[in-house]
Amino acid sequence: MSASDLTLAEVRPAWRSWLGRDAAARVVAGIAILLVWEFTVRMWAPAFVARPSRIIAMFPPVILAPELWQAAGATFGAVLQGLVIAFLLGTLIGVAIGRLPLAERFLQLYVNGLFAMPMVAILPLLTLYFGYTGDARLATVVFAAIFAIIVNVSDGARAVPPEYIEVSRAFRGSAWSRLFDVILPSSVPYLLAGLKLAAGRALIGAVIAEFYASVPGLGFYILYNTRSFKHNEAFVAVMLLAVVGVLFELLLARGTARFLPWYRRDEARD
């Protein structure tokens, strides 16, 4: 892709550039994938296995019934709530690690370790504390999301150019204003990168917690329906999860392009 292609793709809205060049190739590939799926399942798999034609047929009844939306509301509500908590706490801890040498020395090791740890493993512990309830799910979401935010925000707070801090000092800015007017704004790109990562992990955390603790939500909806051999219905819920995941990613990308046009760095820690 040459430089001119790149600018063109950025100016056009996402859907139009998707449909623009190479539209035929994309559409043909999409249809081919669906056909292969449909016929593989028809030939070799048992009748209950999800396949495109049946999923499409199941679409209206599933969409019109309240169950899916109740489940979606519970799951996405918990994800959103958990993300807000992780965002506030994570930013606080991240800035502390990035700016205070003592905090960095003591916490960095633990934050890196917990960031690398598969959060599923902690589920039994969380159900021990919170019982098999929605709180366990919320705790899982927070735990899954927070370390991605801490790691990225601390990178951002560390990367504040020292000149900015010096200027703020020279003008006798208070520590408070240094935090809110210099350090935080300059870490915003890192924060967004962390948030993007955190959102994906939070979604996974919520679904896993619902599997494990049987808390009502999309994960449980999928589990319940596949166990009753209603794979097509369950797959609609998987599609909803995927769509929300992609939408959030697009929203953040759009937001970054709109409000932080100078931001080119794309190296979130993952």
Partner: protein, 255 residues
């Protein structure tokens, strides 16, 4: 990079942080109900005990077999397909958006389907690890392929490079760092897949050890096995980062 003295002091600081953490853990645990939090010493003793009687080592061995099978399949297939897509532009533009969609899909949601189609055993768990890791590898490799400048290929062609030469001297070296980023991501995601598979498909390995400890109210073993998996995660992540630093330093991204 780092001088020897500063590396030593980093180690010393890490050790100090670990020691302080252990002390803090012990102090908090002595004031908490042991049904919720086992003390550091009790946990360490339980880890040693489980390692000595072979429970922990067996669990780790069975987990690693699943993990490495799924992960190596994901790396080999992911990088191969990624490189082919790098070379064949039409295929790449046709498939890119679908791969991105699957990359963003939480793969956990597919576990119940895998269970009812493939049942219990080794293969479905390895498949879960594969699915968790595969799209990270593929997506990042394609990302690298997309940023390959046409000028590079043009230079190769003007020096009469053949298809083999293009792969060996341009395509593979250029895409490798991106693939390594994907592999590092896949290492982490695959581990999540491993534990999720061991929880929800058929209990085995370290996942089963965690679940069983919770059901038996064996709190020290619960904390112990979680500590083991955290250390495993950090170690695997370290390996991924080391590979990236070793082979991808020129890209200036690796930390």
């Amino acid at each position: 990079m780092l001088t020897r003295a500063s590396r030593w002091s980093r180690w010393a600081i890490s050790l100090l942080a670990l020691a302080l953490g252990a002390l803090l853990w012990q102090a908090v645990a002595s004031r908490t109900n042991p049904a919720f939090l086992s003390s550091f010493t009790a946990t360490a003793a339980r880890i040693a005990e489980l390692a000595a009687n072979g429970v922990l080592t067996d669990a780790l061995r069975s987990s690693l077999a699943v993990y490495l099978t799924g992960l190596s399949a994901a790396i080999v297939i992911g990088v191969t397909i990624g490189l082919v897509l790098a070379r064949v532009r039409l295929l790449r533009v046709a498939l890119e958006s679908y791969i991105m969609l699957l990359y963003a899909t939480p793969m956990v949601a597919l576990i119940p389907f895998i269970m009812s189609m493939m049942g219990f055993g080794f293969a479905p768990k390895a498949l879960v690890v594969f699915l968790f890791a595969f799209f990270s590898v593929l997506y990042n490799t394609i990302e690298g392929a997309r940023s390959l400048k046409p000028e590079m290929l043009e230079v190769a062609y003007s020096f009469r490079s053949g298809e083999w030469g293009v792969w060996r001297d341009v395509l593979v070296p250029y895409t490798l760092p991106f693939a390594l980023t994907g592999i590092r991501q896949g290492i982490g995601r695959g581990l999540v897949g491993l534990v999720a598979g061991e929880f929800f498909l058929s209990g085995s390995g370290i996942g089963l050890l965690i679940m069983q400890s919770e059901r038996d109210f064996d709190v020290p073993a619960l904390y112990g096995s979680i500590v083991v998996i955290a250390v495993l995660g950090a170690a695997l992540m370290g390996v991924g980062r080391m590979l990236e630093n070793r082979f991808a330093a020129w890209r200036g991204l690796a930390r």
